[in-house]
Symmetry: C2
């Protein structure tokens, strides 16, 4: 006989999932109701409005896809890219490569614009790519690269796309709720996110928003969308409002309770306050890490406050350190991904996990293990360096 | 400001979701851990073994897709159907039509075998379709049609497919956990289910299993699978075991806690006992409905015990009755779907919702509202008729 599973209580400071608050977990466990229940329709309507708030948009087509962020990414590409379309895809980390895969599986052609891992997307290179490929239909890039901890300039890139007559597809999986995301102000045409990062909700859903221009493109399609599950015309019919609601799939009811609660919490705190909190805790963490003698992997102006890439000091056993953090401190931090595997750690301060307690806890635990491994760090300074940032608040 | 959402406590006797037990809701709300956490890998391994038990299979490729049943359906088709493939699709309700859509969006050709809604798939018609299309690569059909409450003969249909050198794709969304599902004994090649029916878990995941023959076909593909998210070679890499585990997407951690708990409960009860319970409560419900003078929509030998289609008596206001059940009794039953809209109700007795209390509650509530609407029913008999079945146990 298999036994029930009781997970340990971790502190989640990796690249996501982040700590989920008791309030959101409580919402998750409320009694399941039917997905055609009038009360559930009311919940869906509220979630759409809350997501418009989070994305800072008036886009009517704003809703959560009933699957993780990678399905949200795919929803953007399968609905917007038709066979033969040319898409400029910016790659400065893992997730740009995934976008290229998506374009090609839709029968499109990807024009790659590559930047080094750890640097933002170069607007100049994208401009040159548009010059070389004036028939480009779309520009796709990642706002906050989860693999490197780098922020790119959405406003400049979307303005460029619009100026060149192209639509923009933006990955905001790690940015939404942690740093500014202004879909309407920036002129984003399609954006997808995840629930398990700065929204601090459980993983499994992907908030998504499409501009009117994007919806027009979907409505003008000549070919059926290759995915039935992600066909936005069908998904729209399901989320479209009580009067014209058509059954498509069974929504993940309880997950949506949790997402609603997480968004209510974001509304209560306010977007500006949430962003200021992420920035503040980031500065304290960096002060502490640098006081220890560690080096950040990303230049200050491009750093994501919610995902901090740190260079692993020479002679440190990466895997052994992360295992010790997990086993002794119940603390998860992230390994480097792809080209950065073994070279960086990724310390998340996302959503609920972005708090003074976690900054202090992580610095303390990290220092203890590094010291034990004999790493050349300065001990006894980190916590007060972080404290100084907190007190300067 | 938006307020937190507190759903009513419903009794869920529609076509799904079904009532979720407090035990499963409790598991759902356990603290979130990382999807690369060693404890989570252990959970994934246990879930695979528990799903093999539920499906009655030794198939190595048995896991839950991180999205609802309609994505599980799509996972079967996008991985197995290549452009130009011919697929016999059996349609005797809503979900066969959805299979046809899937085949066509994969570039395949669907050969439709149609049976009236409310009747099972005709093995003879399928045989004739194979005769007319000897180059058929696959046979796809629904085991338990959720739109009509009808069971088809998986053993006979899969034997026929195998004999004709075709693979079989079977929809078990509503059957798994409620009636016999014997993947290996029946020679099924690909089967998908949902979590929110007879497993009585929250909606949002799709258990799936592929035979060795099906995996060989996937491994021999010449074209990339059109969906990145549902590409089983990538999904397999993620679920494949600790040593060779490759990041694909972030699993819906908390949902998987709940699925694990629901499967542990199924293992504790035993498959035979769970099926006997579904049958027993079904018989009691039918006895009660017939004592009231109502007529079942499906012939006895094809009825699903977990989904009971009842003809709506003449002169009854379908929508008003269901609204009254919901508003006055917090009781959800299902409307007819597609061709049966306005003609039938669908009363679910799925998973946890298949219990004596629910049978009695539904009969009582239904009788009260029908009586008030002036329907020509016999009152005061239903509960004792159901009771007689319970007592004969």
């Amino acid at each position: 006989m298999t036994h029930s599973f009781y997970p340990p209580q971790r502190t989640l400071m990796g690249p996501g999932p982040s700590d989920v608050s008791a309030r959101v977990l409580g919402a998750l466990a409320r009694p399941t109701i039917g997905h055609l229940d009038p009360k559930f329709l009311q919940l869906m309507d509220e979630i759409k409005v809350l997501l418009q708030f989070a994305f800072q948009t008036q886009n009517a087509l704003t809703l959560p896809i009933s699957a993780p962020g990678s399905a949200g990414m795919e929803a953007c590409f399968v609905n917007l890219v038709a066979p033969g379309d040319k898409v400029i895809v910016c790659q400065n980390g893992v997730f740009g490569g995934r976008m290229k895969e998506n374009v090609e599986r839709c029968g499109g052609t990807a024009v790659l614009v590559e930047d080094p891992w750890g640097e933002p997307v170069s607007v100049h290179k994208v401009e040159a790519a548009f010059d070389a490929h004036p028939d480009t239909a779309m520009l796709a890039f990642v706002h906050a690269e989860t693999s490197t901890g780098v922020r790119s300039d959405v406003a400049a890139l979307c303005a460029l796309a619009t100026h060149r007559g192209a639509l923009s597809i933006v990955d905001a999986v790690t940015s939404l709720g942690g740093i500014e995301v202004s879909v309407d102000k920036w002129g984003v045409d399609a954006m997808y996110s995840g629930t398990q990062k700065c929204l601090s909700c459980v993983p499994g859903m992907s908030p998504i928003t499409f501009s009117e221009r994007a919806v027009e493109r979907i409505n003008r399609r000549q070919h059926k969308v290759q995915s039935w599950f992600l066909d936005m015309q069908l998904v729209m019919g399901y989320w479209g409002g009580a009067s014209k609601r058509a059954y498509h799939h069974t929504a993940p009811i309880n997950n949506l309770y949790a997402l609603h609660e997480a968004l209510v919490m974001l509304e209560e705190e306010g977007l500006d306050a949430a962003q200021a909190r992420h920035l503040h805790n980031h500065r304290a963490l960096v002060a502490g890490l640098e006081a220890m003698g560690l080096t950040m992997a990303v230049a200050p102006q491009f750093r994501l406050p919610q995902l901090n890439s740190v260079l692993i000091p020479q002679g440190v056993d990466d895997a052994a350190l992360r295992t010790a953090l997990l086993d002794e401190f119940d603390l998860e931090i992230g390994a480097g991904l792809g080209a950065l595997a073994g070279k960086t750690w990724r310390i998340g301060l996302m959503g609920c996990a972005s708090c003074e307690r976690n900054v202090a806890y992580c610095l303390t635990a990290l220092e203890a293990i590094l010291q034990r491994q004999g790493a050349a760090i300065m001990t006894g300074r980190a916590l007060n360096a972080a404290r100084a940032v907190f007190n300067a608040q």
